[in-house]
Structure formats: C-alpha cells, structure tokens
C-alpha cells in the first residue's frame, strides 16, 4: 500500500498528465487520432495562456490602468493620490497605430497593416545597430589570442597550441564562407578545405550536445511516467 496521501487535485493532475503523455507517445506506434486531439489541445492551451498573460501583466497594468486613470486613488480625507496625467493619453497613439495590424484581414485596406509591420521592421533595424556592436566587439577582441603563451616565464605549450588551433579554425572557417571571389590558388583551396574539416568538429560537438538535449526531455518524461504517474496509479488501484 502506498504511504503517500494524494490530494484530489494533485492526483488528478498527475494522472491526467500521465495519460496525456501516453497519448502523445502513441504517435511512435503510428499517427493516430488520439495523438492529434492531445496535440491540438496543447496548442489551444498554450494559445489561451499566451493570450491572457500579456493582458494581465502588460496591457492592463502598464497601459490601460494609467490611461484610464485607475491609478488615481481617493484618500480617506477626500484628496487624490495624484492628478490625472494627460500625457497618458499619448498611449492611444501607439495603441491605435498598432491596431492597424488588424487590417491584414481586409483585402482593400491590407496596405494599412503594412504601415505598422514596416514600422516594426524599421524599429528592429534601428535597434540592430546597438545589438550588433554590443555583441560583436567583445567577440572580436577575444579572438586576438596570443599564439605563443608564456606562463611564469616558461612556454605554455598547451595554451599556445590551443590558441593556435582556435585562431586557425576561426580564420579558415571564415575563409570557407567567402563566396565573393573564386578561389583559384591551391593554397586557397586548402584553407577552405581545412575550414570545412574544422567545421565538422563543430558539428560533431553539436550532435553530441543535441543527443543530450533530446534525451534529457525523454528521460524526464519517462521518470515522470515511471515514478510519479506509476505511484499515483498504484495509489488509485490501492496497491
């Protein structure tokens, strides 16, 4: 007999979660309706959550509350916490402009939605400059590694070797992607070939890491099924 006492909601959560997991796993045998139903259910639930949370956490408290003046409260002596700030009305501008997105459904006025889409594209374009330099400069700076490293006055062979491999990899892989001109010299071909080889090491490392990522998800689910769900099931049938 199981020693754990489940609360009804917890029990229902674990049991339903396990059944849902098995329904999804049924896809491994063959594509079937049960899988599709649960798959759609998942999408619907994710959409439902994704719809309300931004309203709850952003649109309501940060836009509508100041816009509608709900942040102005009356104190017990009849005075108010603050005077309504008319600049809050300016929120109407971006909101109305953002509403142009919905013209995407109109054949006649679809071009209006392009205004706001273009605006967003332009905004990400303008922001990209800042992001680019903030990200790339430290990377470029750290790429200038000394090829000969001395440690405590003695040659550090391992670090020198590692730095050389790093710099050679960086340059040869960058060179591999230079498609602007044709590589004619044999030396140039070799450089690009070396880049391809070294990229294979990178892709191998990627594969190794991908295995861990994918398997971690599976192991977690199996652990849930075998331990949590199994225990809840045993509890239900009184074992």
């Amino acid at each position: 007999m199981s020693t754990v006492n489940y609360e009804p909601w917890t029990l229902a959560t674990i049991l339903t979660g396990g059944l849902g997991t098995l329904a999804i796993f049924s896809f491994l045998v063959r594509e079937n309706r049960l899988y599709r139903i649960f798959e759609h259910l998942y999408i619907g639930i994710a959409a439902g959550l994704g719809l309300v949370v931004p309203i709850k956490n952003y649109i309501w408290p940060q836009i509508l509350v100041p816009l509608l003046g709900y942040d102005v409260v009356q104190y017990p002596d009849g005075t108010f916490s603050k005077v309504y700030d008319p600049t809050n009305l300016l929120y109407i501008l971006p909101l109305s402009f953002g509403c142009l997105y919905y013209f995407v459904y109109s054949r006649r006025y679809a071009w209006l939605s392009k205004l706001v889409i273009g605006f967003s594209l332009g905004m990400s374009g303008g922001l990209a400059f800042k992001g680019f330099f903030n990200e790339i400069i430290p990377q470029l700076a750290s790429s200038f590694k000394p090829l000969v490293v001395y440690h405590d006055g003695a040659l550090d062979l391992f670090r020198s070797f590692s730095n050389t491999v790093f710099v050679v990899t960086l340059l040869s892989v960058m060179y591999y992607f230079f498609f602007s001109f044709r590589r004619r010299a044999r030396f140039a071909e070799m450089g690009a070939g070396l880049g391809r080889w070294l990229m294979m090491v990178c892709f191998g490392a990627f594969f190794g890491s991908t295995v861990m990522a994918r398997m971690a998800l599976l192991v977690e689910r199996l652990q849930f099924l075998l331990n949590d769900w199994g225990a809840a099931l045993r509890y239900c049938i009184g074992l």
Partner: protein, 292 residues
C-alpha cells in the same frame, strides 16, 4: 541496396522499444552514479560563492523556459536559486517569455520549502528572500531601456502580486543596475541570451551574467564564455547535476534531488545512442564487405 540504405529495413519501433527499455530500467531502480565534472558549471558556482553583498544588492534570475525546455532548464534554475538562497542573497525573478510565468512562483517556492526542511529553525520568505516581478513584455526593447533607468524600482513599480516594490525588504535599498550582482539567465530559446548580451549592459558596468542553456545550445554558449560575455555556464542536465554535486559537497546535510538519477538515465541514453551508431556502421560495413 546501397550501403546508405542498410538498416532502413529495420522497423524503427524496435529502436524506440530498445531506447524505452534501456532508459526505464535505471529510472525504475533509481540508479544514480556521480556526474561528470563540468568546469563551466564550476564557474557559476564560484561566481555565486564569491558574491559579496552591500545593502540593496540583489541577484536577478530570468526564467525564460517553457515545457519544451523544462527537463533541462528547471533543474539548473533550481540548483542556482538554491545556492543563492543558501547564501541569503535576495533573488529577483522575472521572465521575458510569456509561457514561463508560473515557474516564477513555483521555482523559489519549491527551493524555499526544501531548504526549510533542511534547516528546521529557519525560513525563506517572499519579499525578504525573493521577489517575483512576473512576466514583462517587450523583450529586447524592455532590456535596452533598463540600463538607462536611474531608478529601477520606478521602472518596475510593482511585483507580480501587486506589492509596491519599495515596501519589500529585499528591494528597500535597491535602485541601480550596478546593484545586480549576478544575473542568471535560464533559457533554451533562440536569441534570448543574445538579447541580454546585446542590450542589458551599461558603459562602465560589467554584469556577472551566468547562463543555463539547454544542451543543444552548449556549443554556441561556449563562444560567449570564451569572450567573457557570460562568466559561467550550466550545460543542460549534466551541468545541473554537477552543480548539485558541488552543492552537496559544500553543504553535506543537503537533501538529495533527482538530478543524479536523471543524469544517470541520460548517461544510459547516450550509451544506447553510441551503440546504435556503432551497430549501424558495422551493419553498413558488413553489407559493403559482402558486396565487395
């Protein structure tokens, strides 16, 4: 049949069954072996361990993962948060990923409960030990506006529950970006770490950014580790398991968590993959040999 087609005739479901059985056995027996050493995770540990606090200093933890990343990101986040809470560093949680919102409550709560069991006379409480800022919309746009703010409490105003941030003991003296001593970013989303690296910075201030990534993003994260844009890295569940091991060494009374068992199951899964690669290649080689 060409050598590349060898093995295609084997029903893939046999492979699925093999994987299922191989992983299930150690999980059923709760078999656990010590994890492999992850030097990048040790750097995260050192950063948290060496953090010295002045009044008003805090750690920020960004929880930006959903169900597809929960297997790896959740144990990472819990391990680092546990370490921060053990050191009584006030932790401010927030997320830029809408579907991660419920984790902002559950992660610190679970860690606080575990620590409460370990230290019966002590407690870790909301407001004093952690604060939840909730999901914040805007992504990179929001991030780039934070370093410009003179008073972060004015910018964030309220926590997810509606409390005035200045009323919470953890944030009473917190105002400036420089008071964020550590920022832990846990995500598997493409571009999320980049957004922090690109926009969450200020001239003359070096942020201690530690990152928990899903294993698939490990090679990319190493690029940032090399450039110093992140100062520590937890690599998938293996990183979480090693961090957990480090916590166990530092705090011997620590109650064991499940990361050891999961990591062992994961190890078995790797062995199965290696076995399948070898068998696939051998069968290909045998077929080629017969044909030759």
């Amino acid at each position: 049949m060409s050598s590349s087609k060898v093995g295609m005739d084997l029903d893939r479901r046999w492979i699925y069954l093999l994987v299922l059985l191989a992983i299930s056995l150690p999980l059923l027996r709760k078999y656990s072996v010590p994890p492999a050493r992850m030097s990048a995770a040790e750097k995260v540990f050192e950063v948290v361990e060496s953090t010295q606090l002045q009044p008003g200093d805090v750690a920020f933890v960004a929880i930006d993962f959903g169900p597809g990343m929960v297997a790896e990101s959740l144990p990472q986040a819990e391990a680092v948060v546990e370490h921060l809470m053990r050191r009584r560093i006030p932790v401010v949680f927030w997320s830029l990923y809408v579907l991660a919102e419920p984790f902002l409550d559950s992660v610190p709560q679970r860690v606080a409960e575990r620590l409460g069991k370990e230290y019966p006379g002590q407690s870790w409480e909301y407001g004093r030990d952690w604060v939840n800022l909730g999901y914040r919309a805007g992504g990179g746009l929001l991030l780039q506006s934070i370093p410009k703010s003179e008073n972060l409490l004015e910018l964030f105003k309220r926590d997810a529950r509606g409390n005035n941030l200045a009323d919470l003991p953890a944030l009473k003296d917190f105002r400036r970006l420089e008071q964020i001593k550590v920022l832990g970013e846990f995500t598997g989303l493409q571009g999320m770490l980049d957004a922090y690296i690109q926009f969450f910075q200020k001239k003359g201030f070096r942020l201690n950014l530690v990152h928990g990534c899903t294993s698939i993003a490990t090679p990319e994260a190493f690029v940032y580790l090399d450039s110093g844009q992140i100062v520590g890295l937890l690599e998938g569940i293996a990183g979480a398991a090693w961090y957990s091991e480090l916590l166990g060494k530092k705090f011997p009374a620590r109650l064991p968590d499940s990361s050891g068992v999961i990591n062992t199951g994961l190890g078995i899964a790797h062995i199965v993959i290696i076995f399948l690669i070898v068998v696939g290649n051998l069968s290909s080689l045998a077929r080629w040999w017969r044909q030759a």
